[in-house]
Amino acid sequence: MSDRFVSLTDLVLSYGSTVAVPNLNLDIHEGELIALLGPSGCGKTTTMRAIAGLLTPTSGSIEIDGRDVTRTPANKRGIGLVFQSYALFPHLSAFENVAFGLRLQKLPDAQVRAKTEAGMATVGLTGFESRKPAEMSGGQQQRLALARSLVMQPKVLLLDEPLSNLDARLRLEMRNELQRVQRDTGVTMVFVTHDQSEALALADRIVLMNDGKIEQLGTARELYAAPETAFAADFMGFENIFHVEGGHLVNGSARLPLGFTTDAPVLAWRPSGVSVGAGPYSGKVRSSSFAGGHREYVLDSPLGEIKADASIETAEVPIGQSIAFDLPQDTARRLMA
């Protein structure tokens, strides 16, 4: 198993005069499921399109399985891509959609038939061969797109926002399906998403991107528990982030004394890490909403907006009233400047 199965070196990607990715280095391991995560415009889709060969890099190189494919056209790279819109061919039946690539390889008919049927079986679409894509549900279309890519036995399977067009129930089902397919086939999978919970649930490793650069790279656990920058922390749900200056938390001109000493330039707390009901600080309740296991408060404090989760065991504090809270040391996450 190669640790540099897909290798991007000094990759620069631009559209016309807009530089989308200024300089990217990334190694993808053979057989892993890796997520490119980030807000829209962060360069994740551009990067994926460059791996697919739909976009020629301005400079830098792309290697797949030890071969430099930087200048190889998309139809000769041996990769698969499942589009966000699925991009199924509307004029062809489900069967012909899956068989499309195999027929281009001029395989004998019997082989095309066998492989296509096997591919459709893998994703549980046996029996749907003669349907047109328009006659299938969103989930079925997704599976069909997956089967169409898998029958080509790609070295790498790229997926663009694979779950974004599905409803909540199908999303869970498809998530399991993708993990199963990956286990069964061992194919290296790269998927692009803007949804952190999707990345956390699905990926072996997550590449968090921002402004065309890798903000942080690590396992789901690492990213969730130990974000290193304010951007990563914010993306991972640390909603209260403050600079530290001379023993004070700072937000604009507002300053509050910090209850402990630290050498970290920036500190962050999840809403669940803020303790409500007691503490040295006080904030006025702006909104309060019941969220099942806990209650979510938004407080107006001297530091600005504070998001805090409180236990449902405690009595609800009405909107407009002041409440004490604390930003404790043990739930604080130290971030780089």
Binding site: S85, F89, M152
Partner: protein, 258 residues
């Protein structure tokens, strides 16, 4: 508004738009010698006479030739242009679009005159050839527009998917794009055909001995003779156009593309 007033307004409007035409059909079915309405007795003799007029037959053949081959040529150069304008990051895309669309804005009569003076006469080009150029150029904007709108409905990632599955760019076009814009192409053909077949102003100056399009021929026939044969011919042509459009609408929902 009440249902009654709605139907009154629509009735009056439609009578104004279509009524005169029904009158032409009847006037053509007159048994008399002169054009009049109500017709002096009913007969189909004028409908029959149309087919025996030699010049109508020749000009009908010319108009068919122009409408079919002009439109096909317009599609031949228009489809690639529409595709390029839709799918490529083209330099001067706006300029190209404006040039191709220009024939819609430039009054036809000017074009015919210009071609006669500066192409037919100095370059010794035949009138038929000049007519072919004008009709092609006139149909081109419609071809590009209709094909563009059906390309717009076809997502670009479809072609990318085809390429990733092993197609060359050309194969992606023939295997994925073409089958999916067939309806648009057929609609463009019909629209182009009707436009070209009915065209008058641009063909006005482009007529020579024995060479004129059918509508022009009808105009000059009207100047000389005032019998109902032009009414009969008009009715026949209208039936033809309407039948074609009706079939197209039935078969592929023509109006979606226009």
């Amino acid at each position: 508004m009440s249902r009654l007033s709605i139907w009154i307004i629509l009735g009056v409007t439609l009578t104004f738009l279509i009524g005169p035409f029904l009158i032409v059909i009847l006037a053509g079915a007159s048994a008399g010698e002169a054009l009049s309405f109500p017709p002096q007795g009913l007969s189909l003799k004028w409908y029959a006479k149309v087919f025996t007029v030699e010049s109508f037959r020749a000009s009908f053949a010319l108009s068919m030739f122009l409408a079919i081959f002009g439109t096909l040529t317009a599609l031949l150069i228009g489809i690639p242009a529409a595709y390029a304008l839709n799918r490529y990051d083209l330099p001067w895309a706006e300029t190209i679009r404006t040039i191709v669309a220009a024939p819609i804005i430039v009054p036809g009569i000017i074009v015919g005159l210009a071609l006669l003076r500066y192409i037919v006469v100095p370059l010794n080009v035949t009138i038929t050839m000049a007519l072919f150029m004008v009709h092609t150029a006139l149909v081109l904007p419609y071809a590009v527009r209709v094909v563009s709108s059906s390309l717009n409905n076809l997502r670009g990632d479809m072609e990318e998917a085809a390429v990733i599955l092993g197609c060359t760019r050309f194969q992606a076009f023939t295997k994925v794009v073409l089958p999916n814009i067939r309806g648009g192409i057929l609609a463009a053909f019909i629209l182009g055909f009707v436009t070209s077949f009915n065209e008058v102003p641009a063909s006005l100056f482009l007529s020579g001995p024995g060479v004129r399009t059918l509508p022009i021929d009808m105009l000059s026939y009207m100047e000389i003779t005032f019998d109902p044969s032009v009414a009969a011919l008009s009715a026949i042509l209208a039936f033809l156009s309407v039948a074609i459009v009706f079939l197209a609408e039935r078969l592929l929902g023509f109006s979606r593309y226009v």
